[in-house]
């Protein structure tokens, strides 16, 4: 199924400037500095990866970008708009969607309902409209249902799976549903937190191809946290490396691969 059938794509903006500019953000938990003054630029229409050993602060950074945490310092600008410390639902409404490291679906809802929730902020039905079920609410409900089904099929679920309870889907399909839930709100920026966790090499390869397809089909910008180096090196245009909450390297894949501090962070210091 080709993505060109997906309607309502965000318009590509003419400027090739950074879509998101993260400037010197910092997050402290008590005395612990989880993320210390990290800056990342995410160019429009690119795939940028954030890598680093466990506990490097990657997910904490994501949580600040999506509003789950308030940064202790620094600023985050998205499409020339400061979103530092804004509420998660507001940030989501501006066009930033995410998935989670440990899949977080609404477990007792069907796959379709999960994805319909992703469209919540774009829907207009009021309480009284819903009670009276006005023609407008009815039409909106139908179009959201169709859009959700379309998106689910786009990420590779079969029509028979749409009405299944999310909790009963296989691990891989749950990941797909989560991605569909993030895509259904027509985001400009997609944050993927370790999407290949728990996948075998073939599945990872598939996902790598899928990410490129997403970017091209939907004109998305993707920010990725990933541990699988094959995926990272294959897919990303730029890589930012974090270690102990600090940025230790940044650049295109080949440069980062050769960087000594990165090798050190991953493999330890070589004794001389």
């Amino acid at each position: 199924m080709s993505g060109t059938e997906l309607k309502g794509m965000p318009q590509k903006r003419p400027s090739a400037a950074a879509l998101m500019r993260v400037d010197q953000v910092r997050k402290e938990f008590g005395g612990l500095v989880a993320v210390g003054d990290v800056s990342v630029d995410v160019p429009e229409h690119s795939i940028v990866s954030i890598i680093g050993p466990n506990g490097a602060g990657k997910t904490t950074l994501f949580n600040m970008l999506t509003g789950l945490y308030k940064p202790s310092a620094g600023s985050i600008v998205f499409r020339d708009r400061a979103i530092t410390g804004k509420r998660p639902d507001v940030i989501s409404g501006l066009g930033i969607s995410r998935t989670f490291q440990n899949i977080r679906l609404f477990r007792e809802m069907t796959a379709l309902e999960n994805v319909m929730v992703g469209r919540h902020s774009l829907m207009k039905a009021s309480l009284f409209g819903s009670i009276l079920r006005t023609p407008r609410v009815r039409a909106e409900e139908r179009s959201v249902r169709d859009k959700a089904a379309e998106t689910l099929e786009y990420v590779g679920l079969t029509p028979a799976q749409l009405e299944q309870i999310a909790n009963n889907l296989s691990y891989g399909d749950q990941r797909r549903v989560e991605i569909a839930r993030a895509l259904v709100s027509d985001p400009t920026l997609l944050l993927l937190d370790e999407p290949t966790a728990g996948m075998n090499p073939q599945e990872s390869d598939q996902l790598t191809g899928f990410m490129k397809k997403l970017r091209d089909d939907l004109d998305l910008t993707i920010l990725l946290i990933e541990h699988d180096m094959r995926v990272v090196m294959d897919v990303s245009e730029r890589i930012t490396v974090l270690d102990h909450g600090e940025k230790i390297a940044e650049g295109p894949p080949d440069e980062v691969r050769a960087n000594e501090r990165v090798i050190e962070a991953y493999l330890g210091k070589q004794e001389s």
Partner: protein, 395 residues
């Protein structure tokens, strides 16, 4: 013998398969006809009983509790906010009738669309207006009580709402010391008595020797609340509640405004409690502070747990079962059962013991409730479980 059992199992499976195939695919006209028949049966029901029948009295109370249970089900069942202070909204609703439909505020002389002579003291509004007041006041109260719980989860919400329920109860008891000019806020344990009965132009004034109009009134309120529940469950808001219940972090990250969505649940749930409270206040013809006890909250909560948390029809069934047990079976039918065995007590003394037993029985035999929410049913019977292991095919 074993063959016989196997044969029986096959029949049962075949029956279940056929039923599963038929029930969800009932043609719309069939469903509509069924609903129409049920509503007509509901309207005609009181003609089977005398105007003062004890069963009709129990039915009126049972329907009032259905409304309560449907309200609490929104907060606890849909949105997953364990509210143990639901009695507060019963109190607010009942006091709306006490304040705006009696001679309690004796300095005021306000009469709107009521039958009573205009020289009587107090505020006397038409029952429908009182109902509107009750909805507004309890919705605001629900929002205010909900506010401090927004940052809390699970058991802590229960503790805070429990405390609020108790505070309202204590304020109601001690309201005699809160002065509004020459008047007081409540009449405490003495009760605001001689509360107006509903009056509708063309129908006349309700009285307790003719229970049928009361029945039709609460039946209508119940239908309205049921309708709103069904519509909201399958709406954008209903999905948002369940999403918040299932995973708050994921829900807010997908664009659901936490504060507004939770407060909506509190407000709507409270408004239904207020409607029912206003009706019960009028039906009891008095508003007494001692009615607003913690056990009331637990009683309503038991109804939705027995019926199946989050399930609308479960809430209806649970409310009917427990209220009929409480207001009809125990006091009217089986009350003298102990004395026939030569025991020296009434069955009403054991009410709470009986409810406790029923609750334990349900938890052991059918933890998902009598009519579980569709989602829970699927999760418990269909496909894989959370452990990733395939389960048996549903039987």
């Amino acid at each position: 013998m074993n063959e016989l059992l196997a044969q029986f199992r096959d029949w049962r499976d075949a029956f279940v398969r056929r039923r599963n195939r038929i029930v969800p695919s009932l043609p719309p006209w069939w469903q509509r006809a069924l609903v129409a028949v049920l509503i007509v049966a509901g309207i005609l029901l009181p003609f089977a009983f005398t105007q003062t029948s004890g069963f009709l009295d129990a039915t009126i109370r049972a329907l009032a509790f259905v409304v309560m249970a449907l309200g609490l089900n929104i907060v606890v069942g849909f949105a997953g906010l364990l509210d143990l202070g639901y009695v507060a909204f019963y109190a607010f609703g009942a006091y709306c009738v006490g304040w705006f439909g009696s001679g309690f505020f004796f300095n005021a002389h306000v009469h709107v669309l009521v039958s009573s002579m205009t020289e009587t003291i107090g505020i006397h509004l038409n029952f429908l207006l009182i109902l509107v007041c009750a909805v507004l006041i309890t919705a605001i109260a629900g929002t205010l009580i909900g506010l401090p719980t927004l940052r809390l989860r699970g058991d802590y919400i229960a503790i805070v709402t429990l405390a609020f329920g108790e505070i309202i109860g204590v304020v109601a008891v001690n309201g005699t010391d809160i002065h509004l000019g020459q008047m007081t806020l409540t009449a405490g344990n003495l009760g605001i008595s001689a509360v107006d009965s509903p009056y509708f132009p063309g129908i006349g004034k309700f009285d307790l020797l003719h229970l049928r109009p009361w029945y039709w009134l609460i039946f209508g309120i119940m239908l309205l609340v049921l309708f709103v529940n069904l519509r909201v469950r399958d709406s954008r808001l209903g999905r948002a509640w369940v999403a918040l219940r299932e995973d708050e972090v994921a829900a807010v990250s997908t664009g659901i405004p936490l504060v507004r969505t939770k407060l909506m649940a509190y407000a709507i749930g409270a408004a239904f409690g207020g409607m029912s409270g206003a009706f019960l206040g009028s039906y009891d013809s008095s508003v007494n502070a001692s009615q607003f006890e913690f056990s009331f909250s637990i009683f309503v909560l038991s109804m939705i747990i027995v019926g199946g948390l989050g399930s609308i029809w479960g809430a209806v069934l649970g409310a009917l079962l427990l209220s009929y047990t409480n207001y009809y079976l125990i006091p009217d039918v089986f009350n003298h059962l102990p004395s026939t065995f030569g025991l020296n007590f009434d069955l009403t003394d054991l009410s709470f013991g009986i409810f406790g037993f029923v609750l334990v029985l349900v938890m052991v035999l059918r933890p998902q409730g009598l009519i579980p929410e569709r989602r829970r049913t699927l999760e418990l019977t269909g496909g894989r479980g959370g452990d990733g292991l395939p389960r048996e095919a549903p039987r």
